[in-house]
Amino acid sequence: MRPFTYERAETPAAAVAAAASTGAKFIAGGTNLLDLMKLEIEAPTHLVDVNRLGLDTIEPTEDGGLRIGALVRNTDLAADARVRRDYGVLSRALLAGASGQLRNKATTAGNLLQRTRCPYFYDTNQPCNKREPGSGCSAIEGFSRQLGVVGVSDACIATHPSDMAVALRVLDAVVETVRADGSARQIPVEELHLLPGDTPDVETALEPGELITAVTLPPPVGGVQVYRKVRDRASYAFALVSVAAVLQPDGSGRVAIGGVAPKPWRSKAADAELPRGARAVAEELFAGAVTTHHNAFKLPLAERTLAAVLSEAKG
């Protein structure tokens, strides 16, 4: 860990002002950032603690949705009665992630911005374009069992590891931010995470110093809401594949897939195939898939998991 300075901001405006210098970073629960700092994968020179910004409430929005403060803990979000009633897929996705202790610390914004779990990203001796642009990607020819099969590039095949983000994607959530100049904006979750292309180090649409203040959910869409996470052990593991689904009685619905891409993976065209079943949806979702010897199983696994979710939803 490199030496850094620390300050605690009391308002969003103060936080963005404090983070305006290069090398500054926000810290929320710290469950991802601190691990990365210990390994010097992240080396901020200034930490701006955002835990006291008062952004830790869940409020109804005027249009009947919910506004989730950026600092709401994963545990509290999963347990919120409105979330459990109207956005069950979100609650289930959160509870499928990490462990009780981690969820008590982890925040909504921090969870969205957690970084990949590619093992080579974590080993600073190894080339990694995401960690050190231009150094190469060790994973493509290396051990890639956990890594992505779609939306990936020749430069990086990492996945985004969040469970919560997959549910937010299927719910069409929107991220609210404040930029360094004080202006606010809204970014659909769909547009928050970027595909790697030639610049896998650029992971989100956020500008430097841009603070997430909230995530809003549109009004409830009903339906059967399922989150199915497939992993090598029963708990405390990242998804090999996960499926977030909201399915309506008429066979229509939406699905997003986790564990397969640099962002939660969903397409309108694939949603439209839902009445035709899992195979049709999977064909649409994975049309451009590029697999390795290690991770090719994710394609049949995703399709089969989707089929199981669809048949479970039908009851």
Partner: protein, 733 residues
């Protein structure tokens, strides 16, 4: 005390304390966080500085240059030691690669420097400022690819043959011929390797976490080129070892080097991401098994060959040894091969040899059952042997595998099982059951102890035996209590200090039987000393309820001890009983799994182990050992694999996020039964080990249950869902 004839009746047979379900005597220390582990010994040496390891970033090659300027200038740095500064550093007998590398690099994450600083954070930050330039050379990282270059290892019995295996196999009516693989595995113990080292002149003391005090003291002495008497190792509590702490590792050596350079005590722990590649692991195997049988299931020919790899000069993983003993069959052979690899050092991990060997052999037996149409329990019973199959003159001291299998089958509800796979389904789950046999030998080695009796009637036992979470403190206290006629609350046990008598240590499941037998020997001596002092005939003296009685005279132990107390020391030395009789422990493992029909996720639903392991010294600690081992077996069967990057030459998933071991949610109800009885051939304690037996065969029982659930036979561990998917039922939806 020599033990060379079968044990007769002795005070342990009273079983007033031994054999009772006594909770761990060190339990309160552990649950209150007051058991002092190595890294927490802030109290033992003043002015401790912190060491941080710099580990090699390549697998094979040379250090071209090391730039220490930035690190030296960093805040808090006191000293930096590289191989350049420690030219005369030797290597212990038990280590294959040097624990401080350079200029040659033997494996990934081999230590190349230690940085000592005032605080942990400063040491770690400065270690990251050390700039090492390497020249890499090509290495051999792929076991399969090195198969052609493999040699017969230079070890005891690398090849065995009885009769004419090839001929009998060729002639057999039923033949099984299959290849199985097991991956490299990490011990993944909870406590990382950690040491505090302090020099007092040329006297070195290391507070560490180590299973084998005497071996390790010797290896520290050898590494530093000093006399053994100048070295003291102290390791009273160990947060798990599983064989990963049998020997000294870089934490101890670097702490000592750092302390010498800094002129202060230095503490150092290996960070988790270094442990997989810096320390040892269980080597991967590729095993070829051939079994010939008659149509009615009698084995006529059995052959088992296994290939493993290691650093040049390292040992092989003896995966074939139990095939020599487990089943009958007139014509038999085993063979080991070893390939040189430039991967980290392979070495013992819990039940070394047996674990991977039985993971393969006990699938093969399941396959043979299917080929012959026999029930897998019955096939095993049919091929049981009461003598060493290679030497029929040599019986097992005791072998109740058949009882284990029969009792297990009954208790588990084996009878209703469908032999045809894929027949049972509950909702999304395909359900299957599997069985496997386990065998682990009872090894014996000299073990000593000192026993004191003080004026308060307190019995204190001192031995360099270790407790790696196994319960040594408790069973040793029970042994001394039984022998001296007191309760465990009157016994104080002190372990893990090289200034105490040398014990057999913790390894190979020999610790419980041999260390308590050593305590028994010392207590026999102490009883004589007590009797002598009181003028009793030691044969007549009875030690009960805190007193010694002979005829109608009774004296309390406190009185007998007198103001100065009494002390006796002895060790148990074993004769040839283990040569005349094959001494082994046996188990039958039964497992039920559910396999998700869509995703192939395997979840264990219930487990049963029935064990035949001589006298059980304490059913609570023994059960803990076995359920822990069963848990490890589930890990080995379903998830544990050090993933090898065969280009870059290292284990990629080198932390506990990447190397998955079972969590609570993976482990269902576990049932353990110990067959009652004792084995007078093993020691005066009539006990044998259970700690490794509990693991032997578990993996195969899980694998066989998965097969029974799905009809997919996976011969390559771990059985992850990607290997099952192609064979699972079609999905509709």
């Amino acid at each position: 005390m020599r033990f060379d004839t079968p044990a007769t009746t002795n005070p342990i047979d009273q079983m007033k304390v031994v054999g009772q379900a006594i909770p761990r005597v060190d339990g309160p220390l552990k649950t209150t966080g007051t058991a002092p582990y190595a890294y927490e010994r802030h109290d033992v040496a003043p002015n401790q500085a912190y060491g941080a390891v710099v580990a090699a970033g390549i697998a094979k090659g040379r250090i071209a240059s090391i730039d220490l300027a930035a690190a030296r200038a960093a805040s808090g740095v006191i000293a930096i030691v590289t191989a350049e500064d420690a030219k005369d550093l030797g290597k212990g007998d038990m280590n294959t690669a040097k624990l401080l590398g350079g200029p040659d690099i033997d494996h990934y994450h081999q230590a190349v420097a230690v940085v000592v600083a005032e605080s942990f954070e400063e040491a770690r930050a400065a270690a990251n400022l050390v700039r090492v330039r390497y020249e890499t050379t090509p290495g051999r990282f792929d076991l399969e690819a090195e198969r052609g270059a493999a040699k017969t290892p230079d070890e005891d019995s690398p090849e065995t043959a009885v009769g004419d295996f090839e001929g009998a196999f060729a002639a057999a009516a039923v033949k099984l011929d299959a290849t199985y693989t097991t991956p490299d595995q990490s011990h993944a113990m909870m406590e990382p390797h950690a040491s505090i080292a302090a020099w007092d002149g040329d006297q070195l003391t290391i507070w560490t976490s180590n299973q084998m005090i005497a071996w390790s003291r010797g290896d520290i002495a050898k590494t530093f080129g000093i006399d053994k008497d100048k070295v003291r190792l102290i390791s009273p509590f160990i947060g798990g070892g599983f064989g990963g702490k049998l020997f000294i590792r870089s934490d101890a050596v670097l702490a000592a080097l750092g302390a010498r350079a800094a002129g202060r005590p230095v503490k150092l722990a290996l960070p988790r991401p270094l442990i997989a590649n810096n320390t040892t692991h269980r080597p991967a195997t590729i095993q070829h098994i051939r079994i010939g049988a008659t149509r009615d299931g009698r084995i006529t020919a059995i052959g088992h060959e296994s290939l493993s790899g290691n650093l040049s000069g390292g040992s092989s993983e003896n995966a074939v040894q139990q095939t020599r003993l487990l089943y009958a069959g007139a014509d038999r052979m085993t063979a080991l091969k070893i390939a040189d690899l430039d991967m980290p050092e392979g070495n013992a991990m819990r039940a070394p040899g047996e674990t991977p060997g039985l993971m393969a052999l006990e699938i093969a037996i399941d396959e043979l059952a299917e080929l012959t149409g026999l029930d897998p329990v019955e096939l095993r019973i049919l091929n049981d042997t009461q003598v060493d199959p290679e030497d029929p003159e040599r019986p097992f001291s005791q072998r109740r595998l058949i009882e284990c299998l029969r009792l297990g089958a009954e208790r588990f509800g084996w009878a209703g099982r469908s032999a045809t796979p894929g027949r049972r389904r509950e909702g999304r789950w395909l359900i299957g059951t599997g069985v496997a046999a386990g065998i682990r030998n009872n090894m014996v080695a000299t073990s000593g102890a000192r026993v004191r009796l003080d004026a308060d009637g307190i019995v204190t036992v001192e031995t360099d035996m270790t407790d790696i979470g196994t319960g040594s403190y408790t069973i040793i206290a029970q042994t001394a209590a039984e022998m001296m006629g007191v309760g465990v609350d009157r016994v104080l046990v002190r372990l893990g200090d090289s200034s105490f008598p040398v014990s057999a240590g913790s390894g190979g499941q020999w610790g419980a039987n041999t260390s308590t037998a050593g305590v028994y020997a010392a207590c026999v001596k102490l009883r004589e000393v007590v009797a002598q002092r009181l003028g009793f005939n030691s044969g007549d003296a009875e030690f009960t309820d805190g007193s010694v009685r002979a005829g109608n005279r009774s004296v309390t132990l406190a009185e007998a001890a007198g103001a100065d107390g009494l002390v006796a020391e002895d060790s148990i030395e074993f004769g040839d009983l283990d040569k005349d009789y094959q001494q082994s422990t046996f188990a039958a493992h039964f497992v039920e799994v559910g396999v998700d029909a869509a995703t192939g996720e395997v979840r264990v639903r219930r487990m049963l182990a029935v064990c035949d392991a001589g006298r059980i010294l304490n059913p609570v600690t023994a059960r803990s050992q076995v359920i822990g081992a069963m848990t490890m077996g589930v890990g080995g069967a379903l998830m544990e694999e050090l993933a090898v990057d065969t280009d870059r030459g290292f284990f990629v998933n080198h932390d506990l996020a990447g190397y998955e071991v079972p969590v609570h949610a993976d482990i269902p109800a576990q049932d353990v039964v110990f067959l009652a009885g004792d084995d007078p051939m093993s020691s005066p304690m009539k006990a044998k080990g259970v700690g490794e037996l509990g693991l032997c065969g578990v993996g195969a029982a899980v694998a066989n249950a998965v097969y029974n659930a799905t009809g997919v036979r996976v011969r390559s561990y771990p059985i992850t869902l990607d290997k099952l998917l192609p064979g699972l039922p079609e999905m509709v939806g």
